[in-house]
Symmetry: C2
Subunit: 154 residues, 2 copies
Amino acid sequence: MAGPPAERPLPLNPDEEALVRALGQVMHVLPRTIDGDMIADRQLPLTEYTALMNLSEAPDRRMRMHELASLCHLSLSGMTRTIIRLETQGLVKRERCEEDARGWNAVLTDAGFARLEESWPSHLAAVRRRFLQHFDGFDLAQLARAFRSAGTTD
Amino acid sequence: MAGPPAERPLPLNPDEEALVRALGQVMHVLPRTIDGDMIADRQLPLTEYTALMNLSEAPDRRMRMHELASLCHLSLSGMTRTIIRLETQGLVKRERCEEDARGWNAVLTDAGFARLEESWPSHLAAVRRRFLQHFDGFDLAQLARAFRSAGTTD
DNA sequence: CCCATTTGCTTGACCAAGCAACAACCGGCT
DNA sequence: AGCCGGTTGTTGCTTGGTCAAGCAAATGGG
């Protein structure tokens, strides 16, 4: 990545420029908009929804902090703090991990599952309306591959 | 956005699901990666680079806080603080706006311009490598349109 | 078996950024 | 002239990120 101070590479062409700007916009606007929708609609911030959702899909509705953090795109400390918030609301509880007593499992409670059940349609609608809707004619699978390749630490 | 508690809409199909997950990943990883590249390479965080860049393209290298914030995809308060950081480094100065005494102009200094000159190739390289490269076969203009439509507050 | 190292998670400090409440100021209306 | 709604920035609080330190459990070499 490093190099001599001042090369003079070719600047972006207009299409590249437009795409980069538009992506910047989306990255800024989209999470906030969806979070706003969720809060307005179900009083459940996107981060907490995401945690509940990933837990609900895990076997036995439980997961180690490390794995959950990575699925939620959160740092481990951010995950800890999120789980603490959810725990105080009774939506999640923590249990020591049996096969490795250093570890903890975040476990979805029944209340947490109910909260999720009542919230996912709202999340789904937001995702459709704020994002997917705008990619109607596109080859989504191909797009997904490109994004995945841009998102995996190259 | 609001509705009765528990509708049962169709879930996302696998391609939609994959795209949403991949975008989540990118939104999380990309800014941090590029920011990391810029810091490693030029000790200039992405946010500060973006501010300098937008200022440099403005007439007289000056801009009102409001407009600069919007171009940088930053809240006004975030912009205030960024400009304060840049000001303490001597890269920007603030001047009262003459035609409106509430307003301020952020003005790029010569030092700021020099900093930008020395940094933009690094930014450009990061954007190419971390993002554009992964969209080789795509119709970038069409993509840009879709992203713009998803990014404008619907 | 014991001690050093590593691993999994928590915690605290510090920073960046968003939102909401605020202050200063403009401009139009009466 | 004086007020009032809207605009422009700034500040206080919360969330989240990184980094470093701490602690408890696990692992491995002597």
